[in-house]
């Protein structure tokens, strides 16, 4: 008994000593088996050195490792709102339409073309022929119908409602579910195998935009039948990559789909989405050559990366805006002069250089610049404390007043550090004689309280999903959004009327004109101080070619290539 313990200890000493010595020496002389694991760093330097193990990759497009901060929650796109989920499902699945790689303009995808009848409620989609799902079954009109019914009808055999599946995005985008009064889709008719017709209850401007969303992609009906509720772990679509494996909180591996309908694509053989939660660790892994693209670069590192050999930086076009909202039901914020004064008091450029490392643009509309109806003709509220003080005096508040300034407790894409931003704003307001007391609370409570209207002035923001302007304006500034997403309690009958008309207008030019008009009224009423549109940044190895980040937070990697 005595000896055994001693022996155990000594042998452990030996093992670790050997291990420790080995750990330091062997990898440096470029062993063969572990080459692709760590010594990828050498790729740029000595191209001849890694011939041996590159052989198995050189014939094809190679493996790309895309590192991100968190894991996906589900691989069933329709029953989740998680951005990390759609990042993957966009590779596996396709919708009838897709967004242009740089904007929210819709393009053909599984539907080759579409027609809108003169009644503005009948949409006919001509489907692409010869498209196969990853399980070898054919994509056709029947598949489209099955999927739309699955989301809209809670009693559908593939709705899996008993297993906790809920399709809230469908409900939000299409006005409810089958049988609901607001449900916008009246009926879906199969004309033939490759033609399908959607009949709406009334004209709906954002319909095509919705159809193109990643939440409304087509799953193989055969796979739904086979996997049932486990479809969220066994995704089968028509997309450029097919699902291989998923190790939770670690990585998801996808392989090239050989029978993909787009000839010659995808270029990559394999894509691995790797979770690396810490931003600095992710950057280290990129610099070490262990990964190829990283999401969520710190804005402070952006400039360094741009000038670093072997790396490149990417910008994602802005799709959000952060704002400081007034509670219009409270004095003195019901007074438009006070709101204007406070808007003029805010130094947006200062905020951007301090908090966003310059990676943001000042916002003048409550809508990102790439959106339909963005009103570029408006003159922004310039930073002018003098003017602000005059306006305050005019409103009868030359001695200023005190109010609560609510700051979010969490970082959001549009607001990386709300508490510091609140301090900057507090100083801005102090300059014109106003005393702002910063208030903050736990995130869920914050959202509940803001919806309930307990705040004076509050910080929040909004991010786009389908590129539809109504998703911003209707929710944030329409009367319909009270008491939910519209926490300024702004309610203007003219704006409501314009938004309602735009919602049912199908012609893009007319819709744009209506939004511009609404935005002009909102600008004059200024129910919120539109602060900034932030620009998310990413970094990658310079071997990555044709990677274009889409403004909706993720993109298919169909065209991406890895240079040797």
């Amino acid at each position: 008994m005595k000896k055994s313990l001693l022996l155990l200890l000594l042998s452990l000493v030996l093992v670790v000593f050997m291990a420790a010595c080995g750990g330091d020496d062997e990898p440096s002389d470029s062993g063969d088996t572990d080459d692709e694991d760590v010594t990828d760093t050498d790729d740029g330097g000595d191209a001849d050195g890694d011939d041996g193990d590159a052989a198995e990759e050189s014939t094809s497009g190679g493996t790309l490792i895309y590192a991100r901060g968190g894991d996906s929650q589900s691989l069933d796109f329709a029953s989740t709102q998680d951005g990390e989920s759609s990042r993957i499902t966009l590779q596996i699945y396709e919708s009838l339409l897709r967004f242009n790689e740089n904007s929210f303009e819709v393009e053909p995808s599984l539907a080759e073309s579409w027609e809108v009848a003169d009644d503005n409620v009948t949409y006919t989609f001509k489907l692409r022929e010869g498209v196969k799902f990853h399980d070898g079954t054919d994509f056709n009109a029947e598949a489209v119908l099955t999927n739309y019914e699955r989301w809209s009808d809670p009693s559908h055999e593939f709705a899996f409602t008993d297993d906790g599946y809920a399709y809230s995005v469908y409900g939000n985008q299409f006005g409810g579910f089958k049988g609901d009064e607001g449900h916008i889709i009246d009926e879906i008719n199969i004309i033939n195998d490759y033609e399908i017709e959607f009949v709406l209850k009334e004209p709906f401007g954002a319909f095509l935009q919705n159809v193109a969303m990643s939440y409304f992609a087509i799953t193989s009906p055969a796979a739904l039948a086979e996997h049932g509720p486990a479809i969220n772990e066994n995704p089968v679509g028509t997309g450029p990559f097919k699902f291989v494996s998923w190790t939770k909180d670690d990585n998801i591996t996808l392989d090239k789909f050989e029978d993909y309908w787009m000839e010659g694509y995808p270029k990559l053989d394999r894509v691995i989405f790797q979770v690396i939660p810490d931003n600095s660790a992710r950057l280290t892994a990129l610099r070490a050559g262990e990964i190829d693209i990283m999401d969520g670069l710190n804005p402070d590192d952006y400039e360094t990366i741009q000038n670093e050999a072997g790396l490149q930086a990417f910008e994602r076009e802005t799709n959000n805006f952060g704002y400081l909202g007034f509670n219009l039901e409270r004095e003195p914020f019901d007074n438009v002069l006070v709101r204007k004064a406070m808007h003029h008091a805010v130094d947006k450029e200062g905020l951007i250089s301090l908090l966003y490392a310059g990676l943001a643009e000042p916002a003048k509309n409550p809508l990102p610049p790439a959106y339909l109806g963005y009103n570029d003709s408006l003159t922004p509220y310039e930073y002018n404390p003098e003017l602000a003080r005059e306006l305050l005096a005019e409103a009868g508040f030359e001695d200023g007043f005190e109010f609560d300034l609510w700051a979010m407790p969490v970082a959001r894409p549009y607001m990386p550090d709300a508490e510091r931003a609140a301090e900057v704003l507090q100083a801005n307001f102090a300059d014109i004689g106003l005393t702002a007391n910063i208030v903050t609370m736990e995130w869920a409570t914050y959202l509940d309280e803001v919806s309930a209207g307990s705040q004076d002035v509050f910080m929040l923001g909004w991010s786009g999903t389908n590129g539809d302007s109504d998703y911003f304006l209707g929710n944030l500034l329409g009367t319909q959004g009270i008491p939910d997403s519209n926490s300024t309690f702004y309610s203007n009958a003219d704006v409501d009327a314009l938004l309602a008309e735009a919602r049912t207008t199908v012609d893009e030019g007319e819709r744009a004109a209506l939004y511009e008009e609404a935005l002009a009224i909102i600008h004059e009423d200024t129910p919120m101080i539109t602060l900034v549109h932030s620009i998310p940044v990413l970094a990658g190895s310079d071997r990555v070619k044709n990677y274009v980040p889409h403004l909706s937070t993720s993109e298919p990697l169909t065209f991406v290539e890895l240079a040797e």
Binding site: V16, V38, S74, T247, A281, N475
Partner: protein, 333 residues
């Protein structure tokens, strides 16, 4: 001894019941509606109400608790709200990741810590003693995230010797049966993957093992100093025993009990998951599993995760208690 073991196992029951009540109560008293957190800041009021209904969050607290306990008795740890998967299947890979990392970290900590402590005590007030105790002091107070990031920077980025993240090479995944990659590589007969898995353990293992190592070193040293001053050691030395035998066989054997206590406590703590290490080194362990669940108010995962962690802690303590009497037959239960 057997009676003692059974008694200790029975004592687990009230501990676990208490644990389940406490975790259940704490998370339900955290402000914030879980449905709201799950759906995010852009969710509609109806969507939130629907989800509350669906998850049973609108039922009274005690109803939720009892249905939870009944499920537990059936071996059902619940279903994750985020992923819709059974926690009992979801938790094991994370637990295995943490066990593997903890084992490595503790082996590192014990071997380095115990030996440094013994040599320090043996050569008290020598340069080695001072140096190792200074290192131990630094080790105890070292911020792990800083140590981890420095290790990554030096060994992954600058030298390229060791990988910066994960448990294995994502390009060549280990085929899992036990989810302990070292064991799985051996089962599959893949020595290359065994080596890769080992290399992935080195940086996070050392980062995680640094604090236990320092604590063990200090504990061993003080415990050994006491023993080495005792009369029987002097007698053995006078008898002419070789120093190595005096130190390890006679000295350390009697100094090991307090060290074992520390080892047990540290192992239990590490098995609870080290969120910082697991985050920095992208280690998909139990700590991150529960941490992510807290962020999204995934109640069932928080409850069951903490329960499993507590269970392991108690088991480790039990093992340590039983080891006492094995190592030192004078201790009787």
């Amino acid at each position: 001894m057997i009676a003692y073991t059974i008694r200790r196992l029975l004592m687990l029951i009230p501990v676990l019941v208490g644990m389940s009540i406490v975790t259940f109560a704490i998370i339900h008293f955290i402000p914030g509606n879980p449905a709201r957190i799950i759906l995010g800041d852009q969710a509609t009021a109806t969507a939130i109400a629907n989800l509350e209904e669906q998850l049973g969050l609108n039922r009274p607290f005690y109803v939720q608790y009892f249905s939870y306990v009944f499920d537990l008795l059936k071996g059902d740890l619940g279903t994750s709200l985020r992923t819709n998967r059974a926690i009992s299947t979801e938790i094991w890979p994370h637990l295995a990741a943490t066990i593997e990392l903890t084992m490595f970290a503790m082996i590192f900590a014990i071997i380095v810590g115990v030996n440094a402590g013994i040599i320090s005590a043996w050569k008290q007030n020598s340069w080695f003693d001072y140096l190792s105790m200074i290192i131990a002091l630094i080790g105890v107070s070292m911020p792990i995230f800083w140590l981890g990031l420095m290790q990554q920077w030096i060994f992954a980025q600058e030298l390229g010797w060791l990988p910066a993240f994960g448990r294995g090479n994502p390009r060549d995944p280990v085929e899992t049966t036990t989810h302990l990659y070292i064991i799985d590589s051996i089962i599959n007969g893949r020595t290359d993957q065994l080596w890769t898995s080992f290399k992935h353990l080195v940086l996070p293992g050392i980062a995680l093992g640094t604090i236990p190592m320092a604590i063990i070193a200090r504990m061993t040293r003080s415990s050994m100093l006491e023993v080495l001053r005792s009369d029987y050691i002097r007698t053995i030395e006078a008898k002419g025993s070789r120093p190595l035998s005096v130190i390890y066989r006679h000295g350390f054997k009697n100094a090991v009990i307090p060290v074992l206590t520390v080892v047990g406590l540290q192992t239990g703590t590490l098995l609870g998951g080290a969120i910082l290490t697991e985050t920095i080194f992208s280690w998909p362990g139990i700590g991150r599993y529960v941490y992510e669940a807290i962020g999204t108010r995934d109640y069932p995962v928080i409850q069951s995760g903490i329960l499993v962690i507590a269970f392991m802690f108690v088991i480790i303590n039990l093992i340590v208690d039983l080891l006492y009497s094995y190592i030192d037959p004078r201790i009787k239960y």
